[in-house]
């Protein structure tokens, strides 16, 4: 007969067993989370490579072959996603889904190129977001790519309205002066529209106490995304600034940072007052994505008032630092580590492409690996290895030609994916040996 004590002991044992199992699961998920961030980065490189290959404009190949090849590539890629779904390979599924998302983008670009379609990039983004939404159901993390591009597609509307208003209302009399004046005002309004949305959202959350809590988290996500995309208007807003240069003696860097910092300040103040977490991290990540887009877009580099190096070098690090401080203050360890990792990547990645600059960055990677091994941190060990791979790739990455750049990016992405998959599979042996010691 089983006594009560025995029953209790058995229950405790069962519970502790479950706890150990769930802890092990959590640990493996955490490790996968970091690896997933890097895998997405690698998939992003492969995707960017595909876009660059399309942009290289292979005139010698007949159009029918290019279009047929693009469709076949899409079929193969979608087949690969389906295969990973069927065989339950979650990591590869996300990698293939991410590459598929970029391939769709590349094929849209290819069609535009072959038929010489004259359309704003925002329209291509809108089409992409409409036809690629099933991928989000398969790989939900793609929402980070999908949402900004969807809103980027949508944001074209105000730009069109801008032109219509000016043409219809002002007519041709004194049009050039009035155009500039009104454009400045409209751009100002757009810039500050983000503040209005923040305030409406914050007031709504603060005063509506009966809200369904299950709605709030997704809402924060979308609000954050929406806000960051509202800020994609900043480059437009900035276009009006040369006219104000005479009045506003302010370096470019401050002019760009100031609206973000003021917005971040308002959000922080309101959230701090109500003691709750907010979409601030999303906002900051969004700003970084936005700045990366602005940095890559040559449209803005042709302006003489644009301080290219200043923006490229300083903005990412400022926002990574802001994000790290925010995460530390609000006890968000995962976000804090992600921010620190981003800072290290930035630090090592921005070394000059020179052999004597390659060596110190590789030494930094080796030190990270050794320290991580001693402290038994698999996550940082893996980061050190992948960082070294990326640094070596950066050294060889000074490619001018678009065809070669595309191939290089695809190769680099595949190499990083392979390194990560190998690390995930074989690093266990290394850590088991360490545990034996």
């Amino acid at each position: 007969m089983v006594t009560k004590k025995q029953l209790k002991a058995a229950q405790v044992e069962q519970k502790s067993g479950e706890k150990v199992e769930s802890a092990a699961q959590t640990a493996s998920t955490r490790e996968n989370y970091w690896m997933m961030v890097l895998l997405y980065f690698a998939s992003f490189l492969v995707g960017l490579g595909i876009v660059a290959e399309v942009a290289a404009n292979w005139q010698a190949i007949p159009n029918a072959v290019k279009l047929g090849g693009a469709l076949v590539a899409m079929l193969i890629n979608s087949g690969a996603v389906w295969w990973t779904m069927k065989t339950d390979k979650p990591i590869l599924k996300q990698v293939f889904a991410c590459i598929y998302a970029f391939l769709i983008m590349g094929v849209i670009g290819l069609i535009g190129q072959i038929y010489h379609l004259h359309s704003h990039m925002a329209n291509a983004c809108l089409l992409w977001s409409l036809i690629s939404w099933p991928l989000i159901l398969i790989a939900p993390r793609l929402l980070w790519l999908w949402t900004p591009l969807f809103f980027f597609g949508c944001r074209y509307m105000p730009h069109v309205m801008d032109d219509l208003v000016i043409e219809e209302v002002l007519g041709s009399a004194d049009a050039s002066q009035q155009y500039r004046f009104n454009n400045t005002i409209l751009n100002f309004l757009r810039g500050y529209l983000a503040f209005v949305f923040i305030l409406i959202y914050e007031l709504w959350v603060n005063f509506d106490k009966k809200q369904d809590k299950t709605v709030i988290n997704p809402l924060r996500f979308y609000s954050g995304m929406f806000l960051l995309n509202m800020y994609s208007f900043v480059p437009y807003f900035a276009r009006a600034l040369p006219q104000m240069d005479a009045q506003l003696q302010m370096p470019t860097f401050f002019r760009f940072v100031l609206p973000y910092v003021i917005t971040a300040g308002i959000v922080y103040f309101l959230n701090n007052k109500t003691k709750r977490k907010s979409f601030m991290p999303l906002f900051l990540i969004g700003v970084i994505i936005q700045q990366a887009y602005v940095s890559l877009s040559k449209e803005y580099s042709s302006h003489s008032w644009w301080s290219w190096q200043e923006i490229n070098m300083m903005l990412p690090i400022v926002f990574c630092l802001l994000m790290a401080i925010y995460a530390k203050c609000h006890k968000m360890p995962r976000l804090f580590k992600l921010s620190v990792m981003a800072i290290i990547f930035w630090f090592v990645g921005t070394f000059e492409n020179h052999i004597f600059d390659l060596l110190p960055s590789l030494i930094i990677c080796a030190v990270i690996c050794l320290l991580a091994y001693r402290l038994r941190s698999r996550r940082w060990f893996n980061t050190g290895v992948i960082l070294a791979v990326i640094r070596i790739l950066c050294y060889y990455g000074d490619v001018e030609n678009l065809e070669h750049l595309g191939l290089y990016l695809i190769g680099a992405g595949i190499l990083i994916i392979a390194t990560i998959l190998l690390l995930m599979k074989y690093s266990k042996v290394l850590w088991e040996k360490k545990d034996e010691h």
Binding site: L71, S78, I104, G109, Q113, H116, P134, K298, E299, L402
Partner: protein, 132 residues
Amino acid sequence: MNTKVLASLLLLPIIVLAGSMLRLSYMSNFEKVEVAVQGYDPKDFFSGYYMYLRPDWEKTDCTQFADNVCPKDDFNTTYTFYIKREQSEKLTQKVNAGVVKLQFSYSPGFEPIITDLFVDGKSFMEYVNTQK
């Protein structure tokens, strides 16, 4: 959601883009017209290299259209012609010299589609081959 439903949704982009290709290929087979152009060459990483070209209706032969009237409203004010980077400099010179024409596939009621670019009367590929 059911895996099979999700898997079939993966075909959505392929169907939409294949449909778009068919539509554009149909629209490229209308009667061909040539329009004189002027323009410049912006560059963008995301789109590759292209030339922005504006139809120059004063230099265009309007007899190729119905009633000898150029249907300006059916055409956009600017068009994009994708090229390779190394071609941009010489082609800009040709555009400035006024010897470049865009060939469109045109039918009233449909959006005109660019089918070729003529430099000094040569099709774009012929021009590119003579440059090698």
